[in-house]
Symmetry: C2
Subunit: 285 residues, 2 copies
Amino acid sequence: MTTAVAAAHAFDQAIALKPLGGDRFEGQTSTAYWNMVGPFGGITAATALQAVLQHPGCLGQPVALTVNYAAALSEGRFVVVARAARTNRSTQHWTIEMLQDDADGPPAVVLTGSVVTALRRDTWGINDTPMPLVPAPGTVQGPPWIAPIEWIKRYEVIQLDGPLPQHWDGALSSGADTQHASMSRLWMRDAPPRPLDHCSLTALADVFYPRIFLRRAFRVPAGTVSMTVYFHADDATMRATGDGYVLGQARANAFGAGFHDQSAWLWNAVGQLLATSVQVVYYKE
Amino acid sequence: MTTAVAAAHAFDQAIALKPLGGDRFEGQTSTAYWNMVGPFGGITAATALQAVLQHPGCLGQPVALTVNYAAALSEGRFVVVARAARTNRSTQHWTIEMLQDDADGPPAVVLTGSVVTALRRDTWGINDTPMPLVPAPGTVQGPPWIAPIEWIKRYEVIQLDGPLPQHWDGALSSGADTQHASMSRLWMRDAPPRPLDHCSLTALADVFYPRIFLRRAFRVPAGTVSMTVYFHADDATMRATGDGYVLGQARANAFGAGFHDQSAWLWNAVGQLLATSVQVVYYKE
């Protein structure tokens, strides 16, 4: 037993919001989760969800989240507005806007989104998407998880399949089939480890780099435009997962006319499907 | 050549909106697309998209749509508010709310949503999700596409795999594997045929009945809570598809604690992936 008060985890610091009254919350971007031209999209999505979960009017647990990245956040202060558009007996519909001051006029919208929360009840259930057979976290060491961006250091990652290309030679990837040509698989968790919750799971759903980099080893400007996460895990499954590794898998369906999609699946180490996610990614050339 | 003015297609009548000025549009629910306790969710989603596409400020073509079904619509008038939250050089972020009068107070929110539109440019592209091998529409006749609900008649459907169970005996479905256990495949198009566009494609993405009915042949209350559609097809691909059949495939990843997801893929008859979609469905028991 320790009696010292632990400093908050970097993740909790990054998503911390100060209530401004009503539906408004104030946050600060985190240098610890900085990406190339703004914060890591996963931490921004987690912060949007956090505003809903922290709202005194919030009913139940998150079922679905959609965030639309309207602009890169600037370093500094932002405001999240989380509004319960409709509250039913067992579901609640939230709309989210994230705003930042704009020198040229009124605060500008940098993110829009929506969250569905619900009282989750015991029902019949089944997982039809079993975890793929992969080596357990302690038994394997993948290629190094490094990149000259800060947020990468906030995750312990063991890359199994589909790491970033070593040679940016424009070569088309080849997999066992087209399903595998854009597929990455990796074990991941917060660094240092932190018990999983819906906010940190949201961020994990965005850890996968844009599939265009894998499918065609060519550096092009690319960024997520919209992301949707469905939470299959309730609070009890989160607690059972604790701070253990999460297996992530991502792949794209199609690339064309400046956008590609990517789907992601996240399981805990005992094979429970925690979340599924989709995102659409802008790319150039 | 005909000189008679054709009556508008039932689909166009159903999604027709009258501008009220600014970001507001007025519509009427359509009995032609009636479901059990409200309109077919696909027609409601299509109407939400229509408000954005009809807005004089709309930039480009739709890339992503999310709609959250907050409540069943009542028969009659509704208002759609479509607001450009942010306009960038080549992308635009829309928020949507659908409202209906409420005897007890101010108009109530029945749907929230968001749309990303973009100027789509020629880029490198590839379809990594080829159409499954299925019989061509003219060569096969599936089980009858009938149900005691009106909107079913607005679609020509050839059911290939995973039709509604004939016997509601609670039996678990069996497929070649868990991927197929909740899978339906069908050819579909508007009845009478109508050239495909982003609005009608949105509705097609919701034609699949809740996977819970297939996975466990047991009638339970169920309904879509949120749906996201990513459009891979641009206007040119839509024109090339014309009023031909679209192959749809849907399956679930996981069921539990009152909700299941389902993913859908839509191809035209020459195998172009037109859209991918996910939805989360509430179910009881």
